[in-house]
């Protein structure tokens, strides 16, 4: 968020720390209400994830065998599922899986995609050509299906889900960085860096990199939204994450079985949580893209 609220920060330098944070948020609200609302939603879920043990009224995997499929009540706000587990607690705990999968997956995608894009864009030639053909080729496979098939084939564990999502998402970042590098490769600062005798790696990673990652960074929130959605879809199909896990997709899977017999609360609440978090990430991502590229919204 530093890039976004930079302008605000400078004017509010002298204020106290909490005051400054609030001012920053207000500043963001002025610049992009959409991004600010998204950020608030994400913060809300982050609080749920971090403080889950204190916020949950019940143990998320404690089975109350005498309260199977109870509708929402004062004791169980979101009702109980077919195992007699408290859905409200499970929805809160599920926030941990949402972040726990999306954040490492996006970090992995950035860690792979950004250097690949940088090298492809700067070096050009065969490497570039081959990589771009490879990424083009991957586009004929729907990402969700490829993710499903690869996770199912390589063994079903949380780590595998994260690695596969990270790898599948790396081309997005590589493409963005490559495009930016291509447009800056022959600019004055790169030429002077080369002329000053910097080794190639230094020109690339110290000078070119900081000037070409903005577009990629603006995409991180949108890609995190994608990762949360896809990981929940995998769990819904029972690939990677198995059923009693308090993960939203897995909970919807449990709810799917009882939905048409009227027990709507099992699937509806985790679904709403999932929508809200993905929506928040998408709002933030959309807002971030506007802030980075003012032309996008100001065309009139």
């Amino acid at each position: 968020m530093v890039e976004i609220s930079d302008g605000v920060e400078r004017t509010e330098m002298r204020a106290s720390a909490p005051r400054r944070l609030i001012n920053r948020l207000i500043g963001l609200f002025r610049m992009s209400p959409v991004a600010a609302v998204g950020l608030l939603i994400i913060l809300f879920f982050a609080v749920l994830a971090v403080f889950a043990p204190w916020l949950m009224p019940h143990d998320p995997i404690q089975s109350y065998t005498n309260r199977i499929l109870h509708p929402p009540s004062a004791e169980h706000w979101f009702g109980t599922d077919a195992n007699g587990m408290d859905i409200f607690s499970r929805v809160i705990y599920g926030a941990r899986y949402g972040f726990g999968i999306a954040i490492p997956a996006v970090i992995l995608a950035v860690a792979i995609g950004v250097p690949v894009g940088l090298i492809a864009g700067y070096k050009g030639g065969y490497i570039d050509e081959a990589l771009m053909r490879l990424f083009d080729g991957l586009r004929v496979f729907p990402s969700i299906i490829l993710a499903l098939a690869v996770v199912a084939a390589t063994g079903q564990s949380l780590i595998n889900v994260i690695i596969v999502l990270g790898l599948l998402d790396a081309p997005v970042f590589a493409r963005l960085v490559r495009a930016e590098v291509l447009s800056q490769r022959s600019s004055v600062f790169v030429e002077s860096s080369v002329a000053a005798g910097n080794p190639t790696w230094r020109t690339m990673f110290v000078h070119l990199l900081p000037n070409s990652v903005q577009g990629a960074m603006a995409q991180t929130a949108v890609r995190a939204a994608w990762a949360v959605r896809i990981s929940a879809t995998l769990a819904f199909l029972g690939v990677g994450i198995q059923v009693p896990t308090p993960e939203w997709g897995a909970m919807i899977r449990q709810g799917a079985e009882v939905m048409v017999s009227g027990q709507w609360w099992v699937a509806v609440f985790p679904g709403l949580a999932l929508i809200l978090l993905v929506f928040g990430l998408n709002l933030l991502g959309d807002g971030m893209q506007d802030l980075m590229d003012p032309r996008r919204r100001q065309q009139k």
Binding site: P142, A149, A153, I275
Partner: protein
Amino acid sequence: MNLGSFLLRRLLMAIPMVIGILFVTFMLVRIGSLDPVGLLAGPTATQAEFDMIRRNLGLDEPLWRQFTIYVGNVLQGDLGRSWLSNRAVLTDILERSVASLELLFWGVGLGALIGIPIGLKAAFRPNGTFDQVSRIGSLLGFSIPTYWLGLVMLFVFFYLLRWAPPGMGRMSLMISPPDFITGSYLIDGLLQAEWRAARSAFSHLVLPVICMAIISAAPIIKHTRAIALEVMTSDAVRYARACGLPRRTVRRMVMRNSATPVITFVGTELTGLVGTLSLIEYVFAWGGVGQYGLNAIVRGDFTAVQGYVLALALFSVIVFLVVDVVVHLIEPRAGRA
């Protein structure tokens, strides 16, 4: 360039793509921890038995040789046998493809019918109220999990209101499907005046099609708006406006100039939407390729998974090709890139 040579060039360009696709599907069953030999041999097998099974499956050959055998088999239409259905995978997929195409066609068609006008209207007055609302709506559409939407629709319209039939296939089991003409029960029923069949097929189509339309409209709105905005800032449109042409004429001009990129976008979007389609089929037990493939993934039937992924990728290649041809026909200049 005439259409014949254009088509030939595009077909030639698709060949390396197809080889790449075959390589991915080939590797798909080899990257993992799958061990077909161990599965077949069982825990008590001796080393000699292991070796024999390996030889019989052709797994002792070098990898490139295995790949050429695989490509040869696929070219002859042999995609292997599914252990779930105990039938040839190709037969399974072909049989189910019509059901999937029917759903995809109506769903994305409706999605485009909703999405394109909304995107255009939003672009005509950027940052206006309509634009803001449609933007939030489209972001919401990006955020709703397909399968959850399907489940909620089933709950509301089947369980609560009893308006829709249960999410079990394309037609009531009590009615015999019409004879095969196009494969779409709805169209075939109408063509043969089998009203009961057509009605049943229609009522089974409604929920999955609406579901598909909602999910596919979101990206269509977003991109139509972006494309139309770009066109509106082009020199041609600015000139038309400067000449004082009436707003209606300018708008028609924007629409005509946006047509090609929008068609290209919707076409390429079909590729991504087959994933969504698969999930909808899964929730509504549609009996199409998507449901077949997801079941195969969930149950670990990897021959079928391989065939399914291959079928989807080839479908994308065909769609890209068709989009190219359509764009070429509308605007021959664009094809040269």
